[in-house]
């Protein structure tokens, strides 16, 4: 289970809506205790995918380096990542499966017509052959 803080959630929704009609991407930072992951900080990243970004993203590794540094300074860790699906549902695609790592919580946000619609979270198995939905809790306004 992963719980997103209000501050982190606001940033994620804002980043997803502003990036529309392109996909956005970012990093989730926080801690984990007794199986509960709490993302207290979200970092908006540059989409470094070279080509059409309406349906693809690549997190800029330089943003990962600075997020890693920031999380260590805060005594926290990188819990996972988020990205958006413009005008598509919040599901984990085959492209997502092949390009994510195990362990991480990966939040997918559906944005329809530029407005946030839904979100789900997924974890990938070690062979990157299957994903499993993880309970996701975000502040409902």
């Amino acid at each position: 289970m992963i719980e997103i803080s209000p501050e982190a959630w606001d940033l994620m929704v804002d980043h997803a809506q502003k990036s529309y009609p392109n996909e956005c991407c970012g990093i989730l930072i926080g801690d984990e205790q007794a199986g509960l992951r709490r993302a207290t900080l979200a970092v908006a990243c540059r989409n470094a995918y070279e080509g059409e970004q309406k349906d693809r993203f690549l997190i800029d590794p330089r943003d990962q380096i600075s997020a890693e540094r920031q999380s260590r300074e805060l005594g926290l860790g990188v819990l996972g990542f988020f990205h958006s699906h413009p005008d598509e549902g919040a599901y984990f695609s085959q492209t997502d499966l092949k390009n994510h790592w195990p362990f991480y919580s990966n939040v997918v946000m559906s944005v329809r017509g530029g407005i946030f619609a839904d979100a789900k979270c997924f974890r990938v198995d070690v062979d990157q052959t299957a994903s499993e939905e993880e309970d996701l809790s975000w502040p409902k306004s």
Binding site: P61, Q64, F81, E88, S93, F103
Partner: protein
Amino acid sequence: MAKILIPTPLRQFTGGADTVTASGATVGELMGALLAAHPDLKKNLYNDEGKLRSFVNIYVNDEDIRYLSKEESAVADSDTVSIIPSIAGGR
């Protein structure tokens, strides 16, 4: 001894350590020392041909080794080497 930053998914193979120090004049030597100390990391970082996996990025400070001299890239004791999982996708 240069510092190697270990991403969270790989810490289970370094006894939980988030940072490992190792000696080496190049990235290749440093990674060799890292794998000698933590052999279980190997299958996660290298393919069967002994090549670095494509979804693993290695940075010396803020530079991608692909744009330096790959595994021949020089490393000084004051350098920080980061293992960065490549994260991408789409729909």
